[in-house]
């Protein structure tokens, strides 16, 4: 019995807790991508940099707060700074929409034009972020480091395996749950949310029934900006902020959105978790788990790892390819909000 519990603790420590955290971050990112897709009908390549921008503002405000001696201990101070990060990112998104995208919307440009525009914005944002905060790594998590330390868990349960939960991991999951709940409440219960869904479902019909497209577009950018700022900050809190990693996040985020069905919020969230858990399950070394689960002292020779850890990124790509081959519309048959 203890063997099984030990195996579970091991899995929990190395797969379930990190998987939930990373999955939440991906889900929030994919939700942003999917919203843009559903309403504005293009794949926003700049989304990773938007997340980076949001995290940067949050970090700057966090430093300022720390300088003033403000703290939210035991929680990270960044949570206090996050609202400003959200406002900054939303403003940035609205500015780019006003000065870049709006012109093309009026011309009814092809979706691929927007994609190229988003590449331009990707350049601007990545230059801006590196110019303001520099390309170095930044660790800005403060407060208590752990919710539960491995040793405390061992003492509590008497097991050999520890289960550690970092504060940033807890904060990530809780924040993600709150944000997702808010988004769904907004989309399903409020008048504006319903008008957004109507617009995404059938643009012409929505226009006929008096929905203002300008308003829908602005709301979409506000939500996307907010989601990006939250996702970027949470990712930075959890893994340390490095400007260049955010471009690399675009691939798993798109994979998550497509796996779930682009344009479908529920799909984006489940896609995020599908990607994160597949990455971890396929690159986890099962050696010790098998040792616990098999009777006697037998220990497998190799690491019993399906895929080298270096190929984490390849997992999201392979899943993407499988989805494209088998069911290009994704798990939840996308393109409606």
């Amino acid at each position: 019995m203890t063997d099984i519990l030990n195996a579970l603790a091991l899995l929990g420590n190395f797969v379930i807790v990190p998987g939930l955290t990373y999955g939440s971050q991906l889900a929030l990112g994919a939700l942003g991508v999917t919203m843009i897709y559903a309403v504005l009908r293009f794949s926003n390549f700049a989304h990773g940099e938007t997340m980076s921008f949001g995290a940067m503002i949050t970090i700057l405000v966090t430093w300022w707060l720390q300088g003033k001696g403000v703290s939210l201990a035991p929680l990270p101070t960044a949570l206090l700074a996050l609202p400003i990060g959200i406002i900054g990112t939303v403003l940035m998104c609205l500015l780019f929409d006003r000065f870049v995208y709006r012109y093309y919307r009026r011309q009814r440009a092809a979706p691929v034009t927007y994609l190229i525009l988003s590449v331009g914005i990707l350049f601007i944002l990545s230059g801006l972020v590196r110019f303001v905060i520099g390309p170095q790594d930044r660790i800005f998590a403060d407060g208590e480091r752990f919710i539960m330390k491995a040793r405390a868990f061992k003492e509590m349960t008497g097991l050999d395996q520890g289960l550690a939960i970092k504060t940033t991991q807890g904060v990530t999951v809780v924040t993600a749950v709150i944000v997702v709940a808010l988004i769904f409440w907004f989309l399903n219960r409020t008048r504006t949310g319903k008008s957004m869904r109507a617009y995404s479902d059938n643009e012409d019909l929505a226009l006929l029934s008096g929905i203002s497209p300008a308003k829908v577009v602005s709301i979409t950018w506000i939500i996307t900006g907010a989601l990006a700022a939250v996702a970027g900050t949470l990712y930075g809190l959890d893994k340390g902020y490095k400007p260049f990693t955010y471009l690399g996040l675009v691939l798993p985020i798109f994979a998550a959105a497509i796996v779930g069905g682009v344009g479908n919020p529920l799909g984006a969230i489940s896609g995020g978790f599908v990607i994160s858990f597949s990455e971890l399950l396929l690159t986890f070394a099962y050696k010790r788990v098998i040792a616990y689960l098999t009777p006697g002292d037998w220990v497998p020779e190799g690491l019993v790892q399906l895929l080298a850890t270096d190929y984490k990124l390849a997992v999201s790509f392979v899943i993407l390819v499988i989805v494209l081959l088998v069911k290009p519309t994704g798990l939840f048959s996308g393109k409606t909000l």
Binding site: V112, G120, I124, S126, R130, F131, A314
Partner: protein, 437 residues
Amino acid sequence: MSLNLRNILLFAVMGALLIAVGVIQSANVALAILNLCLISAIMTLGVNIQWGYAGLFNAGVMGFAALGGLAAVVVSFPPVPDAWSAGGPRAILGVASGAFAIGLAILTWRKVPGSRQTRGWAAAAVAIAGIILMRFIIDPAVEAIEAVEPAKTGFLGGLGLPIVFSWITGGAFAALAAWGIGKISLGLRSDYLAIATLGISEIIIYFLKNEEWMARGVKNVNGLPRPVPYEIDLQQTVWVQELAATFGFSLVELSSIIVKLSYAGLFIVVLVIVFWLSEKALKSPWGRMMRAIRDNEVAASAMGKDVTWRHLQVFVLGSAVIGLAGAMLTTLDGIFTPASYQPLRFTFLIWVMVIVGGSGNNLGSILGGFVIWFFWIEAEPIGLALIEFLTSGMAVDSALRSHLIENAAHTRLATMGVVLLLVLRFSPRGLIPERSK
């Protein structure tokens, strides 16, 4: 034709800019920029074949260029006999078994009778069994190869052929990868190709970084053989010494100029050939058909054109050109560093070149490659000078000033973005627009 005069003028300005750099900075700097301009121009031609001719968005330029770089190593580096005897044949057998398994899986999917679901599961089972078999064969071989003098070699080496052959091999590698990815993602919605190519390019880089037995991964392969003479040999040649004496150059500088000029000569030959072929293709019935498909897919398919197949064709061709340019780049560097491939520099910058030059126009692509590469390099000194000028009123030890100067180099990223957006807004057809018939 007045348009022609305009083009000549544009290229003349570009040439004058390069000469100005030669005078102000040094001839070596100007030639270094020129060589990379030439390579960028070829890469841009490749992307233009995909985007300008057919409207396909390839976000994986970096991956195809890296495959070209791998080809340079595989073709030109002398073989490492110890590594070959340690595990060469076994590694090749492993790769072959992997390829065989994939082929068998595809065959299962196509030929085995039954519903979609059963065929799918059968194909997946074959593929997974094949991967396990491949790992079983290849893993010991990889370990043995990487153990051979890891500090110096630790990989199989190449074929030891002249590096120029790798330019064609690089094209072939990239074409093969493009065929695979095109098969999967063409025929679906247009942005799926963009996302799938973005993915494959990241995977290729990961693969090159981690598979040390192939090209040493992050340990890099340096000292690739050159298609042109070495500076050291030139410095001992009589005519070079005489030339240096006559013109008052230092010997070191002159030898380096000669090397760069020989590279430039080679690259110009390739550029002219690729350009000529692209123009031929564009003006042929095939090119007209591609443009017809680009401008109205529905109409073209109603006329009986197999749109997906034509897209696959053009995608493979364009990627082959990118692979060729990638191999040339590694040849010029003389070193293969997988970690140096960054999407901003290798994918999105090439896109800026295509758009700024003029999508659909080959001459425009060449100009775009030149102009953007030139400013990509020169934006750094210009930006730095500008910021130093703007902040000259501040105190010398001001923290803000030193921060701005320190990070000035990053402004070039933002500059490229602004240039791209401005061109798209005010001159969406680029510097040299596509000729409309």
